[in-house]
């Protein structure tokens, strides 16, 4: 009798856990499914490769795709050297003490600053004080602030994950610290570092608040870094909130999700390939 009760409790608990797990999958499925159903009809070569036109922004979204990739790519170029060098310093050179703990705490806090605050800061600093105006470079600089802590921390973890005995092997051959770091440690950590960069780029692609404050909302094909532009996220916001063109909004949303997914999948693929090679 008692045993039955126990089994029943067990089964009930299991059902609850299972339902909780299922909820996650259902929510994800619902979001993707809804966007897919509403957006897939829009997407075609014309949608991707032509400019929007007319009062209801018919046609394509090409300039916004270019602006998004442009600003993300530029942000990656800015953030990578700074974040990697900072991580090398933290992991290899810095005396592990108060200063390093402070830097780490600052990075973690920076990562949790609401992106709209970062946007406001970018507006004040890059757009106005530094006079870059609404431009791709302003957007890229502000985005790089957002990406910096992510890339720095993942790089630091990647460097720390390189086994001590591999470094010793290098020192044992008469290598200096810098030679060991640059020729053995960084190459060994490279794929995990790149994974971190790609993941942070995925985050940048989906960012809205920062770019609306710094890159503006003008639909044009940005060529120079000082040109303004409208990112896909901002375009999506305007299409939907101003009720201009819902089908195009869903098409944009679908494309955006596909891009973020592509970033995440390529990061996973890189990590797996790396594990195979080292294993």
């Amino acid at each position: 009798m008692k045993r039955d009760a126990k089994n029943l409790t067990n089964a009930a608990a299991l059902a609850v856990f299972w339902l909780a797990g299922l909820t996650t999958v259902v929510v994800l499925g619902a979001v993707i499914g809804y966007v897919l159903v509403n957006g897939v009809g829009e997407i075609g070569l014309e949608f991707i490769f032509t400019n929007p036109h007319g009062v209801n922004a018919e046609g394509g979204i090409w300039p916004t795709i270019v602006a998004t990739l442009y600003v993300t790519g530029l942000a990656m170029l800015i953030v990578t050297p700074v974040a990697v060098l900072a991580a090398v310093y933290l992991a290899e050179y810095a005396v592990q003490g108060r200063l390093v703990r402070t830097i780490r705490f600052a990075a973690d806090t920076l990562a949790s600053v609401p992106s709209i605050v970062m946007g406001l800061f970018g507006l004040a600093l890059f757009v106005e004080s530094m006079g870059f105006g609404f431009s791709v470079i302003s957007g890229a600089l502000a985005l790089s602030f957002l990406m910096l802590p992510i890339v720095m921390r993942t790089t630091e973890e990647a460097i720390r994950a390189v086994p001590k005995y591999i470094r010793w092997g290098s020192y044992g051959l008469g290598a200096s610290k810098w030679q060991t770091v640059s020729r053995v440690v960084l190459p060994a950590a490279a794929s995990r570092i790149i994974t971190g960069i790609i993941l942070s780029a995925g985050r940048a692609v989906g960012e809205t608040a920062v770019v609306i404050f710094t890159m503006g909302t003008m639909i044009n094909l940005p060529v120079l870094p000082t040109d303004p532009g409208r990112s896909m996220t901002v375009h999506l916001y305007q299409l939907a909130m101003e009720g201009i063109n819902m089908p195009a909004a869903f098409g944009t949303a679908l494309l955006l999700m596909a891009m973020v997914l592509a970033f995440n999948l390529s990061a996973r693929w890189l990590l797996r390939r790396n594990r195979r090679m080292q294993g």
């Binding site: 092997g169 051959l173 290598a175 090679m277």
Partner: protein
């Protein structure tokens, strides 16, 4: 070097060969922990010296004192003298980076770099400024030949070093060290992480290499010490928390058959029995 002749530690035979490394009154601290005390010995050139003793008795620590590898661990301190070819290893003006080229090291865990076999071996020479491809080719080939690995890898030099078996990886690490032409080879339990067939190959290799290189090996395996070494040093930490000492140092044949110190005898018979 007259001081090399009146070595104060017990059981050291009169120096009949050329002395490569002289250690006098060496003490070693990890922060507050006093790990080694009063170590003195003479390591003969072109021979194999084995360091034996129970786990945690400071053999590996002492080994790392000889090429200043312990410098990499923060909070360590060395007192006493270590002379390599009569020159003070801890003296002013000695660059530990240059010292480690002359005193190479092999670790317990084979540690090839995540790069090709060729690049692994060429790593050291490249660090020290060899750039010409033909010169590097020669060094790589010669080093792999000396490590008895050339025949197995000559067609797959561009393959990753980590794709080799454990025993091959260890020989690759030996080739990598030989490529910078060290005088001394420190081996820290080089066989404890690899299979028995490979152990045999590495022991054979040590016998071949000792004609040109001074080899010091830390091993937990008594039989291995007896097989490969000419001289043996027995280290012991008598009480937990106390620093370890060098109990006895002498010809391997004597240490294993007629040790002078009761503690050596207990350890050796305990291990064999």
């Amino acid at each position: 070097m007259s001081e090399a002749l009146d070595c104060p530690s017990p059981g050291v035979p009169s120096a009949d060969g050329e002395v490569k490394i002289t250690v006098r009154d060496l003490d070693f601290h990890y922060g507050d922990f006093h790990a080694l005390t009063g170590i003195s010995c003479d390591i003969k050139a072109r021979s194999v010296t084995a360091f034996i003793g129970p786990s945690g008795c400071g053999k590996s620590t002492f080994l790392r004192c000889l090429n200043r590898m312990n410098d990499l661990i923060p909070g360590t301190r060395v007192d006493g003298t270590v002379l390599l070819d009569g020159q003070d290893v801890y003296g002013p003006g000695v660059d530990p980076v240059d010292l480690r080229r002359r005193v190479g090291m092999i670790f317990q865990q084979p540690n090839p770099f995540p790069m090709s076999i060729y690049d692994n071996v060429a790593y050291g020479p490249r660090l020290h400024g060899v750039k010409k491809r033909s010169e590097l080719d020669d060094i790589v080939r010669m080093s792999l030949e000396r490590a008895n690995l050339w025949k197995e890898v000559k067609d797959i030099l561009d393959r990753g070093g980590l794709t080799l078996s454990g025993g091959q990886q260890q020989r690759l690490c030996i080739a990598r060290v030989l490529a910078v032409q060290p005088d001394v080879l420190l081996m820290d339990e080089p066989c404890s992480a690899i299979d028995p067939t490979s152990v045999q190959k590495i022991e054979d290799l040590m016998a071949e290499l000792k004609s040109s290189v001074t080899i010091i090996i830390v091993t937990h395996n008594m039989q291995q010490a007896a097989r490969v070494s000419d001289e043996t040093a027995f280290f012991l930490q008598e009480q937990a928390g106390e620093p370890a000492i060098l109990v006895e140092f002498g010809r391997t044949a004597e240490i294993f058959t007629s040790p002078k110190d009761k503690r050596t005898e207990d350890y050796i018979t305990g291990r064999f029995g």
